[in-house]
Subunit: 479 residues, 2 copies
Amino acid sequence: MNREKVFKYIEDNFEEHLGRLQELVRQPSISAENLGIRECATLVRDYLNCLGCKDARLVETSGNPVVYGYYDAGADKTVIIYMMYDTQPVDEPGWIVPPLEGRIVEMPPFGKCLVARGAINTKGELAAFLNACESIKAVGEEIPINLIFVAEGEEELGSRHLPEFINEYLSILKRADAVFFPTADQDEKGKVQMALGVKGIVYFELELDGKGWGYGPTEFDIHGSNKAWVDSPALRMIQALSTFTSKDGNKVLVEGFYDNVAPPSPEDIELIEKLEKTFDEETVKKEMKVERFINDVHGREALLKYLYSPTLNIDGIWSGYTGPGTKTVLPHKITVKIDVRLVPNMTVEEVIPKIRKHLDKHGFNEIKIVQLEEGYGWAKTSVREPAAQAVIKTYCEFGYEPEIWPHMAGSAPFCMFNREPLNLPFVEGGIGHGGRAHAPNEYIVVGEGGPTGGLITLEESYVAIMDNLSKMLLKAKKT
Amino acid sequence: MNREKVFKYIEDNFEEHLGRLQELVRQPSISAENLGIRECATLVRDYLNCLGCKDARLVETSGNPVVYGYYDAGADKTVIIYMMYDTQPVDEPGWIVPPLEGRIVEMPPFGKCLVARGAINTKGELAAFLNACESIKAVGEEIPINLIFVAEGEEELGSRHLPEFINEYLSILKRADAVFFPTADQDEKGKVQMALGVKGIVYFELELDGKGWGYGPTEFDIHGSNKAWVDSPALRMIQALSTFTSKDGNKVLVEGFYDNVAPPSPEDIELIEKLEKTFDEETVKKEMKVERFINDVHGREALLKYLYSPTLNIDGIWSGYTGPGTKTVLPHKITVKIDVRLVPNMTVEEVIPKIRKHLDKHGFNEIKIVQLEEGYGWAKTSVREPAAQAVIKTYCEFGYEPEIWPHMAGSAPFCMFNREPLNLPFVEGGIGHGGRAHAPNEYIVVGEGGPTGGLITLEESYVAIMDNLSKMLLKAKKT
């Protein structure tokens, strides 16, 4: 492939390419609120048609449709391009621009950024990857691998119905040699990071109201003075929640919670030893506006905590009157959203039974567990896989030594591709930067010249990754 | 006074009188949200002008204005008419009509009801009392007592600035012989209830964020996966809250919380023994949609619990993502609204220091206490006071034996009139019914013929109460 020609095309068409990112973030697709999902799926399908996929389509599931498309490059090797078209909600206060308008904001030190919901998680990358593919074709070259596009619309809900799609399209998906997820993996200073896996997650709500309990108000919040003779579901839930953790909130006291936690593998230890040398703690903290880690840990200890601790987290809690000023009510109901993150070798299936058993053991049989999504397990790809080596090679070609993480602390539906029945190596990658996923002022850098790559670099890195994937997968086949 | 003539006038002018109730509830006056306050105060002032008060006016305070008016009947005795013109917010789900439209709804078994925010708490009674006063004058009679109207606009915020008014108008207020608060005191079955006092209240927020703590996210909610190495203010607050009560949420474990709790006085015991015989537990529970009291107590035990227990109640709690579906965040902040109710002889001043000491003792120095209002103490008027006897006499004249409560479990700013520097007896009363104060579908019965009085009965009872107040106060003076 004549990369130079492709890169020139990308540079010459920056404005038009940026326009596609803006178009995509302007189309809401908030899966938690069922807002704009089908419209966004249709837009992505149209993009795949444009690229030349023969059979781009919305594949229906019991939930949101998966956008599927097959691009036949006539190549020897085939890669599944995993993408997501849904986003988080936009209800957080603190946005400096409307979150769905696709505004370009000058953000020092990065330069021009697209600030919008989905900018980095992950509409920016989705659009940039398609731009990259089109650029190859626009200069008369051919994409060096066949692409099976799988863009799902329920990633933020736990990808509950993606297995339906995988089962239906199994025979097609099995033709693939690897899975690639286009991301933008530079940190604030430009360092390239690469994660070879994810933790698992189980997300549920705990709920208590007077109706289910038999005590307390059953249908509405009543006057607060009645606390003297009427029980409080909120105070009761507090007692239950307090049994889940140590006083600092960090050690989970659910029986057997840590039973299946495996120590890091020898390959992991090797990676951590390298990682420790480049791990930029201060930048990580600065991005999150966090002053100190738990117990003031640093360096290797912090990394081990981050990657190998399972967690129990309160994502949200609410009850009663939450407006300004005073309103004296005895609330009839309290709800708590909780996520549990799983590390090797914990299983999705073990979580809810252990939580239930814990509540019952402590006498809180009346508290209901509502599982909001099935959850998904942890997943890992070996750094020795050709697909991983292809991405690493690309980074080196662009002058970056990547910081390799054995896995992320976040969760993603990757495991579905990594495990039975597909068992495919899964890699992500891309040279670019963004931040504040799940937070106000989510952004992706689009201008060049700052400490990180912009949209042009990102698209060029995708071109090179495809090129290297083709080469490394072919080479692996031969050996 | 020719009561018959006045009553006939009230009956003949029902529609017009109801119109004033509707007009008043249609004017929002939500003090917690600072909505419509001044407009409502002006409307009430206009009503007082209409009645013939010489100097009705808005008296400015550091908060919302007090509406003051003096009606000079040329009488020997003077009574302060305490009223409030503010209401609770209207944000609760479950309203069957828009809460600010003043709709009349047929509600079996009561008949016609006005369903609106403020209907019973207490715009309905305010308007009805003014209707009653006007009716006396309309038939050529004179109101038998001089009236000092004091309508405050911050009752729902804890009457924080009422003391400013009292101090400014002290010399006028001191001319009064008693304070009367027009209410509607029938229960669902028509039984008349009368309360001779209130509990005290202190309302505050507990707050914890990463900024104040030094641990956890400081400025915004971050991705939930970071729980592995970043502390959670929410989980930490849960631990703190759990130390406040026993496992059932009902015994307060704050050191010294119960130290100043006095046993019921001999007069209280006497009243409780009577009360026990007519106390209709099932109706009380039905109104609140509560199946069982704490520990399944009944009768006298329930009454003692209700009236003589101080309480610590969670009015509201919130943190993180509280919308539909899943969003994995580690919240940077958690807030809890709490009210503490005081019984004799607890003081307002002792509460916050004890809460602070408790938090510190348990190692939660980082949790901030934000006092939302100064709070007010408990208050009691003896059943032997002529003002109390005047209301009781009225009930008997209308054919009701009142159920007398030594005090309510609720709180109100009465204590300001009951205590230094005024030390006035305080009574409330009125024959009518309403419900769901601080809850959706707040209502007041306006039609007659159901188990309770409607608007006509309510207004007639106010006329009789004024008549009896005049007589009993004069009689007391003579003896």
